[in-house]
Amino acid sequence: MDFFIQLLVNGLSIGLLYGLSAMGFVMIFKSSSVLNFAHGELLAMGAFLFLVLTTWAGLPIYLAFLVTLAGSFVLGFAVERLFLRPLIGESLIFVIMLTVGLASIFKGLLLFFFGGNLHTYPEFLPAGLGVQLGNVFVPPVYVASSFIGIVFLVLFGLFFKFSPQGIFMRSVADNQTAALSLGVHVKKVFALSWAIAAMVAGMSGIVLGVINGINVHEISAIGLKVFPVVILGGLDSIGGAIIGGIIIGLLETFTCGYISPSLRDVVPYAVLVCILLVKPYGLFGLVDIERV
């Protein structure tokens, strides 16, 4: 039983991270229909930026965290501005190929500067952050990641529901022509979705780096888990991305714990296929409201 709870807690906090990082992916897809194949590399960029700031620049952790978020935000913004905006109006396949190219560039840069070895952050989480739940000890890193995940989730929920920019973003995702006719700055919305997506990805990158260590290949592969996550949740549902993330996270940890660590990456996909057979739009994919 204790083992079960341990896995449950780990799965939930990892899943929350998958969900958040998938949320960024879904945002880009919803506003501009672009599948971002460089998403995993955005996670890695965040993780390495944090590494540089904490070890080489020696910034205090809180500051380094904030600077990483800001840096990732700017990175996402710049990517949209420099690479994607010139392609607006071109066929979607070109844009998607471009993200594949971006993925190689980012990965190449990271390999060039940091090599393919495993790096680790300095130990910075206070041991007192761990929580004792009955017989189960939840390590500090999982407490921290759940906390950060929940905070971000609430912040984004409020942002999309109440802030003007959040509502504009949803309007562009809903009906781009109508948004244009009302003067919504669609290009700004694209830039903002990239910026937010990169920021959340950077944040997930840091936490995953704390849990697993930082390795270019591994982190960008984890980033690609957004694909099963969003397909499971429904490509166009932000809430679905979060829940999809949690399901994949739980499946992984339970497979790892009860069956075999080597099956960790296989079982989630097998379950994914089964779910898609029953619900082809994903669990929360929007079946269009047919009322015009």
Binding site: N175, T177, A178, A179, S181, L182, G183
Partner: protein, 270 residues
């Protein structure tokens, strides 16, 4: 052309519009709109009415269309081929054909998107104004637009446009697919908006009868050209308009397709 009154607000000067570099839709359209008036654009399907509106609002661009010839000036500034972001900020707002709500946003959120051109300023008063014009929206403010009726949606998209404080409102077939009573209600509100807010309105309509009742001036389009124009009451009495758009023949009987030959002949206005 009318040159009295408040001066020309919007002027289309012999514009041609081409889609995808090959399909010419407008072939030299000229029209002018005075401030605070309702101008109606009539014509059959494919005459180029919607394209004319999109040329003004800048929405041709995302559809790969372009004004290749002529000029459009609004309030003294040339606006042809400007982006929709720039044009909406000058105060031209188009209400698209076929009611295009944001289906997954609530009524009130839809209205908030209408403030996109001036989102830093407060909008509470404008919400009250829209609910005053369209009381039917008040009780549905929290429900998703995707689940509202056609009439409610037409009110919603018009209210959404009003939130932007338009100086020139382009309405594309507001009566499309609505029950006659609802159509009458919508047109009554359009007239009220024009009178109370002083909004200049271009109204594209198939329902010529209704449109000419509230419009001050009218243009008739055919095949990408303006073929007739005049004060609304004069157009309404014009025998050709009567026959082809109001469905009344010269003798007062409805026309039958037996007379198709004379229809063809009389249609050559230019």
């Amino acid at each position: 052309m009318t040159e009295n009154g408040n001066g020309i607000f919007l002027q289309l000067n012999n514009i041609s519009v081409v889609y995808s570099d090959v399909i010419q839709v407008l072939k030299g359209v000229s029209l002018s709109v005075e401030k605070h008036r309702i101008v109606s654009l009539l014509g059959s399907n494919g005459a180029g009415k919607t394209t004319t509106l999109k040329a003004v609002s800048g929405l041709l661009k995302p559809e790969n269309g372009k004004v290749t010839d002529g000029s459009i000036s609004f309030d003294g500034a040339a606006i042809q081929n400007s982006s929709p972001e720039q044009i909406t900020r000058k105060g031209i707002i188009q209400v698209l054909e076929g009611r295009q709500p944001f289906k997954y946003l609530t009524i009130e959120e839809n209205l908030k998107v209408g403030t996109a051109t001036r989102w830093t300023r407060p909008y509470k008063k404008d919400l009250d104004m829209v609910y005053d014009y369209f009381p039917a929206l008040t009780k549905r403010r929290k429900s998703l637009a995707g689940y509202c009726s056609g009439g409610e949606l037409q009110m919603l998209v018009m209210g959404r446009a009003l939130m932007a404080h338009p100086r020139l409102l382009l309405l594309d077939e507001p009566s499309l697919g609505l029950a006659p009573l609802v159509v009458r209600e919508i047109f009554r509100i359009i007239k009220r908006i024009n009178e109370e807010q002083g909004t200049t309105i271009i109204l594209v309509e198939q329902n010529a009868n209704m449109a000419l009742q509230i419009a001050h001036y009218g243009y008739v389009m055919e095949n990408g050209k303006v073929v007739m124009e005049g004060e609304a009451h004069a157009l309404k009495e014009n025998p050709d308009v009567k026959e082809f758009y109001l469905g009344v023949s010269a003798g007062g009987k409805t026309r039958t397709y037996k007379d198709i030959k004379s229809y063809r002949r009389r249609k050559r206005w230019l």
